[in-house]
């Protein structure tokens, strides 16, 4: 009798312990599983962000370190620099020249890849090859091709009787050349994302459209594009953030990496880098930090505009589908 009651007791206790662990597991584990991301984010994302804000209100030299408290002085100084505004203009210009054709081209490529092609995998992998090439290598090759006097592109233009273009000396051509590098690298990547989304579109829609007599182009605009809306939004947002932070390509566009004699292709991230680490007038961490925070604010504003636009598109989309 007693032994039996003891055993029963133990049984119950065992269950409660397991129960507890189970409940803990349910409650805590999910957070533990995602915690590495947040711990890393705090260390490599949040801490530098806040520390940059701290640096931005001081006179701070790369070697001399922390100097006197400057308040908003660094921000005022940066906003008063012509170069800052030129760099901002260049960043937006390169972003627009690269992002718009890139998304359109990626859509077209994805639509073609979505057809019944022979050796599908080969073509699909093929568009991703430029993405695998290191951006610095891409920039080296392209900046050579876009040489003002001895470049391949100007050579070819000369053959067909067009005057050489000042790819490095003029503002718009230099942006175009840099945008070409960006597009070379990212178009295929975006095309694959679009392709994945296109393949998720139910084939019945197309069959129905075909029965109604819609041709391929009509199908593309009336079925494919509307179904891609969430993917389009994703691609546009990521390319906006990437576009405003563009650095590798313009920095490698000439050997000095200073953005041209009259800052033709100086982007905002290059401006920050040059203020902080550049050989000419660098080492000004306080001012560089202030410029970095200004860029952060600009990206937040652009992000909010994007979000607003996204919501409008999404709601109008759901309305139209009703």
């Amino acid at each position: 009798m007693t032994t039996q009651s003891l055993a029963e007791d133990r049984e119950i206790r065992r269950i409660t312990l397991g129960h507890k662990l189970n409940r803990w597991d349910m409650k805590v584990s999910p957070y533990l599983y995602i915690s590495p991301f947040f711990v890393l984010f705090i260390l490599t994302g949040l801490f530098p962000l806040l520390y940059t804000a701290y640096v931005s209100v001081f006179d701070w030299h790369i070697i001399g370190g922390q100097g006197e408290f400057a308040g908003a002085g660094n921000f005022e100084w940066v906003l008063g620099q012509d170069k800052f505004w030129v760099a901002l203009r260049n960043s937006f210009s390169i972003f627009l020249i690269s992002a718009i054709p890139q998304v359109i081209l990626a859509l077209i490529i994805a639509a073609i890849l979505d057809q019944n092609l022979r050796a599908k995998t080969f073509w699909r992998m093929g568009v991703l090859v430029p993405y695998v090439v290191a951006p610095v290598a891409v920039a080296l090759i392209f900046s050579n091709m876009f040489g003002d006097q001895y470049g391949l592109v100007n050579n070819a233009l000369g053959r067909i009787g067009i005057d050489p273009v000042g790819w490095h000396s003029q503002v718009v051509p230099s942006h175009f050349a840099i945008a070409t590098m960006v597009n070379f690298r990212w178009t295929g990547y975006n095309a694959l994302i679009f392709l994945a989304a296109m393949q998720a579109v139910p084939r019945d829609y197309y069959e129905a459209a075909m029965l109604d007599g819609a041709n391929r182009i009509r199908q593309f605009f009336s079925i494919t594009i509307p179904s891609l809306r969430p993917t389009l939004i994703f691609v546009i947002i990521t390319s906006t953030i990437g576009g405003l932070q563009i650095f590798d390509e313009p920095r490698m566009y000439d050997t000095t990496g200073a953005g041209g004699a009259s800052s033709q292709w100086l982007t905002i991230t290059m401006y920050i880098y040059n203020l902080g680490f550049g050989p000419a007038g660098g080492g000004q961490f306080g001012r560089a930090a202030a410029a970095a925070w200004l860029l952060f604010l600009i990206i937040v504003v652009v992000g909010l505009i994007n979000l607003a636009a996204t919501r409008t598109i999404a709601t109008s989309g759901s309305r139209s589908s009703k």
């Binding site: 409650k27 805590v28 957070y31 915690s35 947040f38 711990v39 705090i42 260390l43 801490f47 030299h61 790369i62 070697i63 001399g64 370190g65 620099q81 012509d82 170069k83 900046s143 050579n144 040489g147 003002d148 006097q149 001895y150 470049g151 000042g166 490095h168 000396s169 003029q170 000439d254 050997t255 000095t256 990496g257 200073a258 041209g260 004699a261 009259s262 033709q264 680490f277 050989p279 000419a280 007038g281 660098g282 080492g283």
Partner: protein, 424 residues
């Protein structure tokens, strides 16, 4: 309850990590000099100093100290690394190479560098090289490696086509004089040739300014570039000559590199280290030669130093190592392997240096030529903290007119003035 405990734990971890980062950033430099049993030293250089593995192995054999050699690809990379870690207070090599262009910027933090003064080596280098490495308190903080005495490199094949003399003695006689003589020879050349006379207006400007004592900054630390008649004269001289004589290339650009092989220009200012650049850019071109002459006397362009950061825990051993590396014997080997011309005066009469020739340049006796060119250097321009940024702005001003052709000389000068105001 459990939730709040978790957040405190995360906060504690983050806080600890942040503190660790800060602590790492401010770790104090250990007292130098107390090096018992140094078994390994680190050396950081850039480009090619000519310090070969065999040479470093020799030092290991001599002293038993193993040398770890890190090479940065460019001087700019080395600068970024140097400045960042000097500010952080740790992470630099025991012996760090510095280029003359950013040396002045470093000089203002000379208290972070180990004092290398030593009576035994005081007379090792050309005087102006040592002067530039001595800080305000009279401490010698760097040992000179190479210098860049300038000659004129020219294409004898293009000279022949234009009916100019091709022999290097005759070419030297033709150019010998001031800058006007050099430009006049250029006028004669371009009248009979499709090629330009010189590669880049920016290079010529650099050549002219390197012959003046006070150019961009006054010796009391003011930026005088925009008001100094010397600078404005040089600017106008160069841009007056540019339309006729310049190949209108921007130095170090892809076009400039391609210009060597395409025969875009016939002469260029040629510091000793430029020989390697020419050879690398135009290996197939036959006809490059060096003339023992430079407009208006002599001039130096470039060169480097070795420093020992005070943060090194083996500073005394590092000092001895830097001493050994910049010893004439080692620098001679470096010259033979790379063409970096030594700053050590005792070598200028040495047989081994004077007999060095360079096959690519039509067997030119480069040892002898650059010895002479080094002796012709009379002044070293005063360079301080703002020299490099102001020079960069001035070069940009030249580029806008000469290469980009986006502004005329006056407008570009005005922008230069604005740019310089932003530096101050």
């Amino acid at each position: 309850m459990s939730k709040s405990r978790r957040t405190t734990a995360v906060a504690a971890i983050a806080g600890a990590a942040a503190f660790a980062l800060l602590a790492a950033g401010c770790s104090s430099s250990a007292t130098p000099g107390a090096d018992d049993e140094v078994t390994e030293l680190t050396l950081a250089t850039f480009n090619d100093f000519g310090y070969t593995d065999e040479m470093l192995a020799e030092y290991t054999e001599l002293t038993g100290i193993k040398i770890v050699h890190n090479k940065a690809a460019t001087s700019g990379d080395a600068r970024t690394n140097y400045f960042t870690k000097l500010g952080a207070g740790s992470g630099l090599a025991d012996v760090e190479a510095v280029e003359i262009d950013w040396f002045a910027e470093l000089l203002q933090y000379s208290d972070k560098l180990y004092d290398l003064s030593n009576d035994e080596v005081a007379d090792r280098w050309v005087q102006w090289k040592t002067d530039a490495a001595t800080d305000a308190d009279g401490r010698l903080i760097a040992y000179g490696t190479d210098i860049g005495p300038q000659a004129i490199c020219y294409r004898s094949d293009l000279f022949a086509e234009a009916g100019l003399p091709t022999d290097r003695e005759e070419v030297a006689a033709m150019i010998d004089g001031d800058w006007d003589t050099y430009f006049a020879a250029g006028d004669e050349f371009v009248a009979n040739s499709d090629a330009a006379w010189f590669d880049s207006s920016g290079a010529i400007l650099q050549g002219i300014l390197n012959q003046e004592e006070e150019t961009l900054e006054s010796t009391d630390g003011e930026i005088i570039a925009t008001t100094n008649p010397v600078v404005e004269d040089a600017y106008n001289t160069v841009l007056d000559a540019s339309p006729e004589l310049s190949a209108q290339l921007s130095q170090w650009s892809d076009d400039w590199s391609a210009g060597f092989a395409n025969g875009a220009f016939a002469t260029m200012l040629c510091p000793s280290w430029m020989l390697g650049v020419i050879e690398g850019n135009a290996p197939e071109v036959e006809g490059w030669d060096v003339a023992n002459v430079f407009p208006n006397g002599g001039g130096n362009w470039g060169g480097s130093y070795l420093t020992v950061p005070a943060q090194s825990e083996k500073a005394e051993a590092a000092k001895a190592f830097a001493d050994w590396l910049t010893d004439p014997e080692q620098q001679l080997k470096a010259f033979v392997s790379t063409g970096n011309f030594p700053s050590q005066t005792s070598l200028y009469e040495a047989e081994e240096l004077l007999t060095v020739t360079r096959p690519f340049f039509n067997e030119a006796p480069t040892g002898e030529i650059f010895s002479d060119r080094s002796a012709a250097i009379e002044v070293a321009p005063y360079k301080s903290v703002n020299y490099f940024p102001v020079m960069d702005a001035l070069q940009n001003a030249i580029t806008r007119v000469d290469v980009d052709k986006t502004q005329d000389a006056d407008a570009s000068w005005d922008q230069f003035v604005t740019d310089v105001e932003a530096i101050g």
